[in-house]
Symmetry: C2
Subunit: 316 residues, 2 copies
């Protein structure tokens, strides 16, 4: 039995690019799209749409910007059976970077926002919707918010036309019961809207938490190939597809993609279950300190890292 | 809040030894014990007690046999604040290998059995109990049994004095709902007995499933350092300790143990989330074919492996 409303979004290139500044070959991006489309994935997210002024071009690969022409180059001749998505951050994209949807290869723009920025985020989402895109709101880092502030943001979102709002476990700190709590809260506050889920894998709970969200009614599911993503990464697409019963999903193209592209890539860049990311997850902290220490000679000094993060400091 | 009945069993050496035929240095075994004891782990399982006639000694390390004198050598001078466990398989241990508990460093003997062998397993458990050991029954591979056969085994176990029975996800194929189903079944069939849980990590669900078992009432929890164990390995001890609220547990010694011993060990021997183990988990299969293919030049030919396991064969 399956729920036909369920849609899968692959965020491999977008979230994986946070590791290597989107320095992916065109070939890898194309093959990722092709494999995801063949696997029955509904949306493939290629990156962030950001203003080129903000990021020096040679340092950052083209999926930091998601220019429409880059899509046309990379996917030239490829059948577009999966929709294309990109993400935008408040303050990092100009109005003129967002062409009307009818002139763009992108179908969906997802707005990422902290609770505190929700007003700006709604304005940006309104712009995307006006230009004809499917739009979602991804509220980040809610594990660090007071409930009253989450509730207020949800009240505001309820008054918008944004059709889908995501529960995001930014720090990989949530248990299944937290997912249930939030999915139910979002559902009650946002009648008629689709609830999405985006989980990080710091504590090896991304897949379990995504399953729990499905059970609770979430219908828009993020995952990435072999779990690639900043820090510990995301829910593995291959695991998610093995769980979903919808006959349209097919695991085989993703297995081939992993063996041909992501095993070699994993030799070059790092993601997945590593103790420093587990520690930031346990402590409900942003992974930035773990990411930084993994680039030093102390990359495996876990105890020192844990002590640094847990030693009480004077807070005035 | 915590549940004082909860006990943690570390199976690092016993299950990890399935990878390398228990070729661990005395130092690693000693440091594992010391760190687990300091972390508040209740039981440390050092290996299998097996008849030396069955396994050639130079090929197999001493924890394939768990002779009492090996324990005394390795733990000489070490304070024994954690109890010692070993596992026995039916037909692989002789009566004379099991000394009276009062003369042995071991406190607990766990009997591993398939449902079909439960009568023999109960006889072996009775022997262990007669000799004074704490004893558990670990029923393996129940994900492949008909429910009526599980029920019959549980009925037989209900009539014994065996104080604890384990739900074991041998193939890493179970979801949280399967764990709930089995824990509740075991509880209902075995009033007054402790329920244990031992999960494998093929689909990155070992920690989530262990949490679910705790919620459902399991009080005897298996885990291993950095998840070491055959194939995909087990629930990570470091994750489990981060979840448990009992003040006696301490994560720090385990973090130090991982950085000093298990990161280097992982360079020598392989365990953890790898696609072939994910595939056997998805298919509810024993990991033996995945283990075998990982030792060949085709170790990363996932699609071929998947097709081999899923291509229908004529079954008469």
């Amino acid at each position: 039995m399956f729920r036909p409303q369920i849609k899968v979004l692959d965020c491999t290139i977008r979230d994986g690019g946070l590791i290597n500044k989107w320095q992916f070959s065109d070939e890898l991006v194309r093959e990722t799209y092709v494999a995801c489309a063949a696997a029955g994935v509904d949306y493939v997210e290629l990156g962030y749409k950001a203003s080129p002024e903000l990021y020096p071009a040679p340092e950052y690969g083209c999926w930091r910007f998601c220019r429409d022409e880059d899509v046309e180059r990379v996917l030239a001749g490829v059948e577009r059976t999966a929709k294309l998505s990109c993400m935008v951050d408040i303050g990092r994209v100009r109005e003129e970077d967002i062409a009307p949807c009818a002139e763009s290869p992108f179908d969906m723009i997802r707005v990422a926002s902290y609770v505190k920025d929700i007003d700006k985020a709604i304005a940006l989402a309104d712009l995307c919707m006006e230009r004809g895109y499917e739009t979602t709101m991804n509220i980040m880092a809610v594990s660090t918010n007071l409930e009253k502030d989450i509730d207020e943001a949800l009240e505001q979102l309820a008054q918008t036309k944004i059709p889908a709002v995501y529960v995001v476990d930014s720090y990989g700190s949530m248990y299944c019961e937290d997912i249930t709590f939030l999915v139910k809260k979002y559902q009650e506050a946002l009648p008629g809207k689709t609830i999405g889920v985006h989980c990080h894998n710091n504590r090896q709970l991304a897949f379990a938490n995504t399953i729990q969200a499905i059970i609770d009614g979430a219908n828009l599911l993020d995952a990435s190939v072999y779990g690639i993503g900043r820090g510990a990464g995301n829910c593995c697409l291959e695991l998610l597809l093995s769980f979903l019963k919808n006959p349209k999903f097919n695991l085989r193209p993703v297995l081939k993609l992993i063996q041909d592209y992501f095993i070699p890539l994993r030799e070059e860049i790092e993601w997945g279950y590593l103790i420093p990311y587990a520690i930031t997850g346990m402590l409900n902290e942003h992974p930035r300190m773990a990411i930084a220490m993994r680039k030093t000679p102390d990359a495996d000094k876990y105890l020192e890292f844990y002590d640094k993060l847990t030693t009480p400091e004077v807070v005035e």
